[in-house]
Amino acid sequence: MIRLTAARLLSSMRRAPHALVVPLVVGASLLLSAPPAAAQDAIFKLDPASRNVVDLVMDSAMAAGLPNRSIFSRALEGIAKKASNRQIVDAVRRRLVSLRTARARLGGVSDDELEAAASVLEAGAKPEELARFRARPQGRTQLEAFTVWADFLARGVPKDEAFSAINKLWQDGADDAIFHSLWNNVQSDILQGLSPGTALQNRIRETPQRATASAGKPPEGP
């Protein structure tokens, strides 16, 4: 009996390392695979002064009831794109101003719409132009309209023409599908060599009828 107990003891001692290997290897793997603290909190890649500015800007946004996730995302985007601290600080400040202006011009809209509107302003639209989109029927969103508008400005469509086209479609009651279809056609024409302004003029001419005729219907094929 004593011999049996000793054998069992020896056996358990031999098994012990094997029993430990699995949790230990799992733990070590976690240690190796876990991103370092700096990567987890990328914002701390900014120098302390810049980080402080980002913090202050976010606090200001929060106090004003603005979506500060947009500001934080902007800072992270800058860090990922290896922008300088100065560029990042400028970008988050600009975003705060844009959000504030958009809120003042549009009133109570969703955070997504507010961020899209801020992008339009940063692309060069005037605040008073944005105000034309304040009134909206129940259930209608400006998100797609603002997205397409900002894209046109980013592609070099003249500001007045871009506003005129988007505003006309909006007042005509165009839905998201129509805005997206217009964007698709215009960017396709630009890629084929047309100037951005001409591409928009050509496409907007054929769009009004489509907008009023097919509002609420599925989009036509490309």
Binding site: L9, V21, L31, P67, S73, A83, A91, L143, A154
Partner: protein, 200 residues
């Protein structure tokens, strides 16, 4: 010790040294009693398992294994701490104000969106955007060897998402199939994806 006690001590010693004489059947009777006791207790398998779990054991660890164990425990701690503090500032405040978000509650993982990038010569392509904290390592894309396109499918909340592709770890590219996000002053274009949903 006095002299009068001496004979008793000798007697005790003598008696202790005297071999015990048992009758022939004594050993058999004792063993039979032991067997009967064992059979009477009849240990069940469940009880045996519990006994094995509860019985004390001796573990021997090599220095290397001990170091590995320590690394493992530290790793678990780092990961747990990182997850706990994710999105929290050093002073404990949340980095993103959830109170100012849309009054309509966001749906969790509403729509699976597929992102495609044509880059037949690329070695690696990853998707980065506001949905993954602009982490260039978080969402690698998979290459289709036949078409040379890279793709990844992600569940995204309804709403507006800004994103870009990172080719070979260094080159930023926008999505030609999506509207542009205006220049942010960072020198690289991004794209916008509006995911439809109840918040729109």
């Amino acid at each position: 010790m006095s002299d009068t006690e001496h004979p008793y001590v000798e007697w005790i010693a003598r008696e202790a040294k005297r071999p015990v004489e048992l009758d022939r059947g004594a050993r058999d009777r004792v063993m039979a009693a032991v067997r009967a006791e064992g059979a009477h207790r009849s240990i069940t398998p469940a009880r045996r398992r519990w006994s094995k779990l509860l019985e004390p054991r001796v573990f021997r660890l090599s220095p290397a294994l001990t170091t590995l164990a320590a690394a493992g425990l530290v790793g678990i701690g780092v990961l747990a701490g990182g997850l706990k503090n994710w999105g929290v500032r050093k002073d404990g405040r949340p980095l993103v104000d959830t109170a100012t978000q849309s009054p309509v509650p966001l749906q969790t993982t509403d729509t699976v969106v597929k992102f495609v990038f044509a880059g037949p010569r690329a070695s690696t392509v990853s998707l980065v955007g506001d949905f993954n904290g602009w982490d260039t390592t978080k969402t690698p894309m998979a290459r289709d060897p036949r078409s040379g396109t890279w793709s990844v499918a992600l569940p995204l909340n309804a709403g507006r998402h800004v994103y870009a592709f990172v080719v070979d770890g260094t080159t930023w590219a926008n999505d030609p199939s999506a509207p542009l996000a205006p220049d942010d002053g960072f020198g690289h274009a991004s794209s916008v994806k509006n995911v439809p949903g109840p918040t729109l």
